[in-house]
């Protein structure tokens, strides 16, 4: 039974990991940039939701919508002002521009809101669902559901709408897309905005069971990269599978390892995937 419970807990965590990682994989898939600052946008999303709760009394589940919008605009601007300028630059410039962004975002947060840990109080925190002897705590269930809804909406947006087709066309071949009358620059701005906004949304919905501080992104960085590498960089469906897998791995390793060493298990998974299946566990690109 503890095993089944751990797997269930892992799936609940993994649903959220999937959504925050879809953002990262989307940015790579469309713009071919690995955004090392992605986890810092998660931090920004958590703060926006926190302040929406603090000042407006909004439950983070609704605050997550504000997080999404605010970070979308932020990402849109970042793409236009910064990322756009290194798209054709050597990889080293791409890597260190987003690393610089990571440092800037983290320290801006430190200056603006201070280093203390902040958390919200919601009605759901002491509630839980029971089913056949298994327990799901309510905040986890809500975060999982919200992530599921967001994931389905992104899938619909990318697979079923005209805009989604233009994005996929640009990801495949920006030059050909341009010849078809698509403005790749515009698609890049929207995709980067959408990518970081999704991650911020994920940050907001997990706020009820976590605390937020300027350095909260650090604990998600390696995790997100493990998820997207497992699923194949740029593969949205892969990020979902990878997210669920990482959630379950983390939860299972928690049964017999101290908390800090769970990252080590993730790293081993990460390195083995890179070494043996660099294209990810799912081969087909979606």
């Amino acid at each position: 039974m503890p095993l089944l419970q751990a797997i269930l807990d892992g799936l609940m965590l993994g649903g959220v990991y999937a959504v925050i990682s879809i953002g990262l994989t989307l940015v790579f898939g469309v713009i071919s940039i690995v955004n090392f600052a992605q986890a810092q946008f998660l931090m920004v999303g958590m703060y926006v939701a926190y302040f929406a709760w603090h000042f407006l009394g909004l439950d983070p589940i609704f605050g997550s919508v504000i997080s999404f919008i605010v970070v979308f605009l932020l990402g849109y601007g970042v793409q236009h002002l910064l990322i756009r300028r290194v798209l054709k630059a050597p990889e080293v410039a791409q890597i260190f521009l987003t690393v610089g962004l990571l440092i800037v975002l983290e320290n801006l947060a430190l200056i603006l809101v201070g280093s203390e840990f902040k958390s919200v109080q919601t009605w759901s925190q002491n509630e839980s669902l029971e089913f056949a002897g298994l327990i799901i705590s309510m905040p986890y269930a809500i975060a999982f559901l919200a992530s599921g809804v967001a994931g389905v909406m992104v899938w619909w947006l990318l697979a079923k709408t005209w805009w989604g087709r233009t994005v996929r066309a640009t990801a495949q071949d920006p030059m050909a897309a341009k010849l078809m009358g698509i403005d790749p620059e515009k698609i890049y701005r929207m995709s980067f905005g959408l990518g970081v906004a999704l991650t911020a949304f994920g940050g907001a919905v997990i706020l009820p069971y976590l605390t937020v501080s300027p350095s909260v992104g650090e604990q998600f960085g390696v995790l997100m990269f493990t998820v997207v590498v497992l699923g194949g960089l740029g593969n949205v469906l892969g990020a979902v599978v990878g997210g669920l897998a990482v959630g379950v791995i983390q939860s299972l390793s928690g049964l017999f390892l101290p908390l800090q060493l769970q990252n080590m298990v993730l790293f081993i998974v990460f390195i083995l995937t890179l070494a043996f299946r660099p294209e990810g566990l799912l081969r087909n690109k979606s």
Partner: protein, 321 residues
């Protein structure tokens, strides 16, 4: 391009004389010592990052391994840090070789990610394995009053400075030897095009692994020197992404990646600048000087990712035409 003998002589003269222009103790000599240490570390990074264009975001891993190795050996067995340098170098080199087994075929972003993750894991291990490392509170090098040269502890700041200077000279010499040797040309071939390098008969995996091992070992030695200089470190500061890994890469970028003088130019530029920021901005609150640091990094990338040397050349060319 062979660096001119005159420039080398001038640099050495300046470097040898610098500590006598400031007080033997206190702030200034400390900054100069760190400047030399970071130039040495950046040069070690340059072997992998510059010659083979493998961008590592995890060199703090080897730095920290070196520091922990010598300090633990000193505390547990009283081993002199002079021997600890070799122990630290060996441990770091082994780690570098091991890490390159799964990562040597990775390129660009993937390599950067893997090295970053490796360092994060070492940080987690160092934080949780308290019985060996002292855990999150850190570890101190036992200070013995008047211990002298045998324990690499000095009453004045100058000897430490000269040790770091020796490290810069040695690692720069290693870099120069590699870059003009067969290995150097093989690495450049790997950088230009891995597949073509394979076709002309270069064992690219072996080449990259060798470079990674040398680079890691030298970084480990720098870690030992840092531990002996600073007397204290903790997992979060020694395995720091921003404080160590990114900083050594940034120094190379500023000076010019893959050039022999790059790390030295970069260190002479960045460290004084950081000190000015710290001095003028630190009273404005936590994070301000770090923010400035991040902005410099982004600024340099956007203006000229090939660094100051390229910027200077551009400027000269514009003046001529």
């Amino acid at each position: 391009m062979k660096p001119s003998k005159l420039l080398i002589a001038l640099f050495l003269l300046l470097a040898l004389g610098l500590p006598w222009l400031v007080s033997g103790e206190g702030y200034s000599i400390r900054v100069l010592t760190l400047l030399m240490l970071f130039a040495a570390m950046a040069q070690a990074w340059n072997i992998v990052g510059g010659l083979a264009n493998q961008i590592s975001l995890g060199h703090a891993a080897f730095f920290g391994l070196g520091a922990y190795t010598s300090t633990i050996l000193l505390i547990r067995f009283g081993l002199s840090p002079w021997l600890g340098v070799f122990a630290g170098m060996a441990v770091a080199a082994c780690a570098g070789a091991l890490l390159s087994l799964p990562t040597m075929r990775l390129k660009g972003h993937y390599f950067a990610l893997a090295t970053l993750a490796f360092c994060e894991v070492l940080r987690a291990i160092a934080n949780s394995w308290s019985s060996l490392t002292g855990g999150p509170v850190g570890i101190s090098v036992p200070f013995v009053p008047n211990a002298g040269i045998g324990l690499m502890q000095f009453n004045s700041g100058r000897p430490s400075y000269y040790i770091m200077l020796a490290a810069v000279v040695f690692i720069t010499w290693v870099y120069w030897r590699i870059s003009t040797s067969k290995l150097g040309y093989e690495l450049r071939a790997v950088k230009a095009n891995v597949d073509s390098a394979e076709v002309i008969g270069i064992d690219t995996a072996r080449t990259k692994m060798l470079a990674a091992t040398i680079s890691a070992g030298l970084m480990g030695a720098c870690g030992v020197l840092y531990a002996q200089f600073n007397f204290f470190f903790d997992p979060d500061s020694i395995f720091s992404l921003v404080g160590i890994s990114v900083r050594v890469a940034l120094i190379c970028i500023i000076g010019g990646i893959g050039t022999v003088a790059g790390p030295i130019i970069g260190a002479f530029f960045l460290l004084p600048l950081e000190e000015i920021f710290n001095a003028t901005l630190s009273n404005k609150g936590a994070g301000v000087s770090q923010l400035a640091y991040g902005l410099i990094l982004m600024g340099i990338i956007l203006i000229e990712p090939r660094g100051l040397q390229a910027l200077f050349q551009k400027f000269m060319n514009r003046g001529r035409s």
